[in-house]
């Protein structure tokens, strides 16, 4: 059973379609990156999953329970952090977490203990008794993560958890996610691609309210490897001319490589065939020494741009 499963999820706001049949399946205990440009429907999808909004049609289940009909049981099993979380300014951090904990079936001692542990976890123990109204944006974000973990969730849903944090804060959040790996499903939306590459097992890329692609991170990157880089010693011109005649090569171009080597960059139609045959083409030239042939890792940013058609105005690689 998947931790989160949506099927044909649609959300209409008047004439605007925020979601156009979203289908995603988040495996249990995975760290799942939910990626998309601003306005792509990420927050709408999270709002429906968290029980804040209702879908116009389609279904959404968390831990096998329908978010619409079994909302209370679902919310007992999730932790949710909104983008730009807000709390009561007159409560202290400790009180905020205890208030959150009292919504869950935990006794008073467990609530107090857990609140203290969570404050330690997000490095707010030193300001536990300070009023939340005096917290900075980053501190509020960390308190948000702590409150999301108060109920001991099976599924942790985070909407842009790193957007208000500095690099050190982002690193801490990523570390918390790493710590949850294998015990809690973490479903988080973001537009910071570097964080997704660093921590996510699986990723879904959405745009315009629909899922363009969902797969394991490694598969996603491998599937887009259409470029080979060949390094040789010697004049590359004759080799490039030869390679351009091969059926599996779409284009070939030479450029200077490191340490006096020459580098030939190939756009290929069939990666496997190219990897096997390109070295043979090179070594057929007596005046050339073959050094290496490897696929170029395009990175998530390139994959994202390829899938969304460049709708990346707000997407940051780092």
């Amino acid at each position: 059973m998947a931790a989160i499963e949506t099927s044909g999820l649609k959300k209409q706001y008047g004439k605007i379609s925020a979601l156009r049949g979203l289908d995603i399946s988040v495996p249990r205990e995975s760290i799942f990156g939910f990626l998309g440009p601003n306005g792509s429907g990420k927050t709408t999808a999270l709002s429906i999953l968290a029980g804040l909004a209702q879908a116009s049609s389609g279904s959404a289940c968390i831990c096998g329970m329908d978010v619409n009909t079994e909302g209370m049981a679902v919310r007992e099993r999730i932790g949710f952090l909104r983008q730009d979380p807000r709390f009561y300014g007159w409560m202290s951090g400790q009180e905020t977490l205890e208030f959150t904990g009292r919504f869950f079936p935990l006794d008073a001692g467990a609530v107090r203990r857990r609140a203290g542990e969570m404050l330690e976890l997000v490095d707010l123990a030193g300001v536990a008794n300070r009023k939340v109204g005096g917290y900075s944006g980053g501190m509020r974000q960390r308190l948000g993560i702590a409150q999301a973990l108060m109920g001991g969730p099976e599924v942790l849903m985070l909407d842009e958890p790193c957007s208000a944090l500095d690099p050190a804060g982002r690193f801490e959040v990523i570390q918390i996610m790493e710590r949850l790996r294998g015990s809690t499903t973490v479903f988080y939306s973001t537009h910071i691609l570097q964080d997704v590459e660093r921590v996510a097992d699986q990723v879904a890329i959405i745009n315009d309210g629909a899922c363009l692609r969902q797969s394991k991170m490694s598969e996603l990157l491998a599937s887009s490897q259409t470029e080979l880089v060949v390094e040789i010693e010697g004049d590359p011109r004759a080799v490039v001319a030869d390679l351009r005649r091969q059926a599996y090569v779409a284009s070939a171009a030479a450029e200077p490589g490191p340490a006096g080597l020459s580098r030939i960059r190939l756009e290929v139609r069939d990666l496997e065939a190219a990897r096997g045959h390109v070295p043979l083409v090179v070594v057929a030239h007596d005046d050339i020494i073959f050094v290496s042939c490897r696929p170029e890792q395009p990175g998530l940013e390139a994959v994202f741009l390829e899938l969304t058609g460049g709708a990346s105005g707000d997407v940051r690689a780092a």
Partner: protein, 272 residues
Amino acid sequence: MESAIVGPRSTDERALNPHRALFAGGRNIFQKELQEWFRTKRFGVTALLTSLMLGAVPVILFLNEGGLHDGRINSGYNGSMDAWMGLTLTLGAYLIVALTMGMIVKEEDAGTAQWIFTKPVSRKGYVLAKYAANVVAVVLGAVIVPSIVFIALTAATQSGGIHDWAAVAEGLAFASLNASVVVAIVLGLSGVFRASAPIAGIAIGIGFVPFFFDRFVTEKVTMFFPVNIGAIATNAVRSEPLTPWQPAVSGIVILLVAVAFACYRIDRRQLQ
């Protein structure tokens, strides 16, 4: 920190603690709401303001009556009682509207309602807890505390002190009912509007409805407007019969309908 701390609670632990679904989280919200009244300046300012308003009544009457005779006011007891109830039920009602108009919408604007609704909380429980806590706070701050001030001053200055303590208690009960109805109307309007201005405007405007209708309908009908709870309260403190009964009944009906309507609407409200 060990990962066990941040991991999920076991299924057994959840199974041992079955949650009350219908009003889940209501007690927690109720306590939070009361804390917000008492730990911020809201309650203190309300009680001070209403006490000054009502405390001034015996002083004004004292001056109006031309001073003390043997250290006490010898007349105007009923006038003083009328002024007390009049202020409590009219100015008090406006103050209550101002104090409670944001009880739902302010939380939604601030985003704290969205935070709470992602927890295992029943929205009906949330609405009822908010209503109950606000009624407790406004009855205390805008009815009971200023009335204690008024009663103390009256007992100290009026010749003969308080004539009928049971009548005062009855008057306070009807003033509290009036406050509960006002909060319920504000709550009901919060189920329709998502901004404070129309809620306040309409809630105050409802108080003037009888003035428009008394030209077109008979007194039998206007007697059912809950704004006339003031008439019962005034009769009560004067130790006169508790009439008319109609506004008390219609007030309770309106209270129940408004709270149920707010529960229904807010339960279905779409948030982001």
